[in-house]
Symmetry: C2
Amino acid sequence: MKLGRMNHLGYAVPSIEAAISHYRDVMGATDIEEPFDLPEQGVKVCFVNTPTDSGMNGTQIELIEPFDATSPINNFLEKNPQGGQHHVCFEVPDIATAREEFEAMGKRILGPTRIGAHGTPIFFVHPKDMQGMLTEIMETPKGDH
Amino acid sequence: MKLGRMNHLGYAVPSIEAAISHYRDVMGATDIEEPFDLPEQGVKVCFVNTPTDSGMNGTQIELIEPFDATSPINNFLEKNPQGGQHHVCFEVPDIATAREEFEAMGKRILGPTRIGAHGTPIFFVHPKDMQGMLTEIMETPKGDH
C-alpha cells in the first residue's frame, strides 16, 4: 500500500467531557467538534482539530469514550485508567484495494470493513502484525481535497 | 497556551531497523529520514514523513529505540515489547512562554528544557497531569514556515 495522510490519533479517555476541557483549557485547542455517539463501534467520539502551517486540515485527535459496558475500548481503559493513545489512522484512496493488499501480506484484519467516524469505510489491522500499533485504515472522504 | 501543529507521534520500538522495514514495505512510506543517535536523550531516532493534502509537512512518526541500558524508554518497552505509542508532540512558537504557562497551571514538567530531535528546545509534561498522555512541547523550528 501507499502511505496516505495521518488522519487522526485515536485517544481513549474515561470522559470525553474532561478531555475536551483539557484540550481547550490546558492545550489551547480552539477548534473542537461536537461529540457524537457511534454505537455500532461501541464508542462516543469527539474530534479535536489541530492547526497546520498551511491552514489545511491537520492530524486530528479522536477522543473516544466507551459507549456502554460492551465497548471494545473498556479493556484498554482498565489497563490505562487515565486514558492513553489507542490507535493511529492513515488514509488511503480506496479501501477495498488497501484491504486486499493487507490480506495478501498476511496481516490480520479485525472484522469487516465498516463505516467509521468520518462516514467513510475503515478497517483495523491487528497491532501484533503492525509492530505493536493498532492501525486504522480509512478511505479519504470525498471532496476533502 | 495555544495549541500548535501536531509535530510528531513518538513511537517506541525495539528495533528501528525493523520498524523502518515495516513503514517502507507494509505501510508504503516513501520519505524516511536517516536514523541518528540522540545519546543525551538515551534514544536512537528516525523520522518517517507522512504526506498531506497540501504537500506541506505532515505529522511525522518518530521511531525511538533505546540507545543503551539506561534509556528512559526501556521500561516502556518492557511493558510493550513489540513497541507502541509513547508520546505526542505539539509545537509552540516560544518554549519559555509555554513552560511558564504549564508551570502556572501546576503541570509537572519532566526535567529541564533541552534540545530535542529537531534541534529546537523541548520539554515533556507528565502523563498523569495530561489525561494519560505523555506530551512533548517543542519550539517550532525557525524557517519551517
